[in-house]
Structure formats: C-alpha cells, structure tokens
Symmetry: C2
Amino acid sequence: MVDKQSPIPIYAQIEEQLKNQISEGKFPPGAAIPSERELTETFGVSRMTVRQSITNLVNEGLLYREKGRGTFVAAPKVEQPLSGMTSFTEDMLSRGMAPSNQLVKFEKRQPDKGIAEQLQIMESDEVYFVERIRYADNIPMAIERTYLPVKLFPELREEALKESLYKYVEQTAQLKIAGAVQRMEASLAKKEEAELLHVEAPFAVLVIERVSRLDNQVPFEVVRSTYRADRYKFTSEIQR
Amino acid sequence: MVDKQSPIPIYAQIEEQLKNQISEGKFPPGAAIPSERELTETFGVSRMTVRQSITNLVNEGLLYREKGRGTFVAAPKVEQPLSGMTSFTEDMLSRGMAPSNQLVKFEKRQPDKGIAEQLQIMESDEVYFVERIRYADNIPMAIERTYLPVKLFPELREEALKESLYKYVEQTAQLKIAGAVQRMEASLAKKEEAELLHVEAPFAVLVIERVSRLDNQVPFEVVRSTYRADRYKFTSEIQR
DNA sequence: CAGTGGTCTAGACCACTAC
DNA sequence: TAGTGGTCTAGACCACTGT
C-alpha cells in the first residue's frame, strides 16, 4: 500500500490514497473513514504517521474529526476559488481569461511615508514604482500600482514585469511568499481612472490594497489596484 | 517550566512561553530560537511535543523554519486584522465601534433556485429570511440579507438576531463554523438602497456575498451585504 | 463497556547547512 | 563533522462517545 523506500514521505502517500478513495466514492460525505488504529494496520505504519496525514486533510477541509466518535468525510465544496493569494496573472488564468499588460511607468523613486511604513523601510531607501494597466482578453480590467523595495530585488528588470511578478519572486529571486494583508473598498472612479479604464462617470470601482510578506514576515510589496466593478468580482476562501 | 499535571496540554504551555519570550524581546525578529533538541531538555519533554508547539507557531506566522539551519522569529506584522471570518457584530466591536441593528424583516419562506443551490437544500425546504439594517455608532453602515436553512436551526427566535448570529450558532446551537466562500464587488447604490443607507446617488457601495460552512462543510448561511463605501473597508489576511 | 481521537514518550535515521 | 529540521516507530494514558 505504501512504499517505504520512496522519496515521497509516507504521510503524503497515505494522504494521496485517502483522497483517491474519497473521490472514488468509497467514503461518501458524512461517512466515517477507518479509525486511526485501523489505518495503522492497513498501511503498516505507526499511528503518528497516520495522524499526520489525517491532520493535513482536516486542514484542507476534506475531513473533520469528532472526539470519541471518529473521522468523517466533509461535504464537497460547492465551488473552489483560488485558495489564497494570487497575482493578477494567476487570477485571470484561473478564470479562463488571457491576461496582458500595458506598462505605463517603471522607475526607482523615494517612497512616501505611508509606503515606507508599510514596507518597513526608511524613506531614504529606494523603491521600484510600477504602474500597469491590466487587461483580460484585451479589455481593460484594472489599474495597478506596485511598490517594491529595491534592496530585496536589486536585479529586477522590466522584462520580469511582463510575466507574473510572483513567479519572479518565487522562481528567480528564490524567496518564499507567505501571505498578505488586504484592504478592499468600493469607490467612484476618478476622471483619469475612468479614462484609463475606458468607462464613463459615474462608475463604481473596487480598490484593493495589498501588503505582501515573505515567510520571515518581511513585507516585499505594496500593491494598489483599481478594478472595473462591472468586470471583476473578488472571490476568496476564509477560515473562521 | 511546564506543569505535566495541568489540564492544559504541554504543547500549549510551551507555545505560551515561547510567545512570551518573543514578545519580551528575548528572541528578536530574525534571531534563532533554541533548537528543538535544546527545548526538549529545557522543558523536560519529548521532541514530538516540542515540534507540535513550534508547528502551531509557524502556522500562526510567528516563527519560520529553515531546513538544516534552525527556527527563526518572524518580523512582527504591521497590523493585525481580525484573522478570518467574522460577523458584523464582531467586526464592529474589533474596530471599537458600537454595533446595533434594525430588523426590517424576519420570516420563513421558500428559497429561490440560487439560494437553494448555495445552501445545498431543496427548493421545497424552508429558509429563514432576515433583513437588517446594520449600524455602527448609530450611523447606517450596511443592509444585510441573510438566508438560513430552517432545518439546521429549528429553534431560531427573533431575539437571537439582536446579538451576533455566529454566537448563536456556536454557543446555543453548538455547531462549529469552519469557513466561508466570499464574493466581493463594487457597485452603485440602487435608489432604495441609497435611501436606507441615508446617502445620495450616485453612491458607491461594497457588495459582499458570503456562503458559510460548518466543519462538516455543510453550508449554513448565505449573507448578502451592501456596505456604504465611505464608511467601510474590508480587511483580511490571506495566505499564499 | 469497547472504541475513538488527543496527547505524550524516548528513541531512530535522513537530508540539509555551516564550518 | 556537528547540528538542524523532517520523518518515523511502537508503544502509552487520557477524556470522550455510544451501547
């Protein structure tokens, strides 16, 4: 059942098999899966290993535990939004649309007080300022202004902005993105924003400000985006 | 250092002490905490127990691990939004404002197709429909329409709606809230919405639709809220 | 009562990092 | 080479659930 020589950890193999059995309908929603001690015997591993698999699946929302009763299969989720924090590029691709960019500005500058504070840097430290119009299927979707500390990305080139910035951070700069704090509000488009987005006033826009952190909790970007309300709904999964 | 007789699990006691030492500055951001084997000796417990504590703190974003190097203190977060999924009542309280309600409608009715689908019930199953104007410090903040399956809350009374609904679900109905899928968009207030919110058109509003689930992933509410854009920003923490 | 998940022990080997 | 986190074992006692 499990390959103890495999480079894939045993707990990951067990997760995989449980997932398969659930999606095959062997354990329908609401049904109990075998107890941890039973799984211990089936897979020939120790209980802590089985528990690690189950804990991961519980965290994913696929299973839930009840003390003294057992572990059960959760109901399937109605919809599956992109689980967490995504870049515009990733977001549009997952919606089946073709993302593209128009770079309006790319420069180094001194941050103002607010940006410096959010990035936890000095006002004398430089930041990249990137202004882009974001398109989906060639229709303007959002205006996006990004601030990045130059110190963190000394090698950043204009070409990297044509692809996903997060791809650059993770693959080229080899940094781990942990999460972000996001503020969202509705607003009316300003005159120049309405022009850039090809809409006529009064027009509602969704304004999102995101401060993103690496795994050591150091902020690496501030993004301020202004989305056309008619073309963009923001969907997210939240935990209690 | 730890009380093995205490009803509080040892791993929770260790978490507590590590948190304290970090906030006291004993381990500044970026510094390594003692290795797992050292902590094993300091606390006189086994390594798996220490690991459980550290894993929890890593999930909270307080620490991060690097293979072969050690475990380090993360930078403090700039701001601390309410971590996840909150009710209007909880949300306003955390912002230091006084929430209140005006109940416009409370009735049982047949759900339309969309609501029935989102709640995963039959169209013939009844739902409660609750319409409320939400106030913060006595200023209208949002219009909120909630749909709840009668089956799940056969005992629901009007009084429960004066307090937090989530409090009712968790404390009175004894159910566990796991999470929700949330869709947010900007829009212009409709005429009657503008009146209810005491604003004049054209006025931007933030529309939030939330489908909330219990720990067994069964949906228990659909909430559609319309917030005054000038008085409400939605803040959330997201994970990559 | 027997069975369940929650917690805990005292070891072990591995891959990786730093010196 | 020594130290680190990642994985794993084979047990154990507990509180809680259902009969």
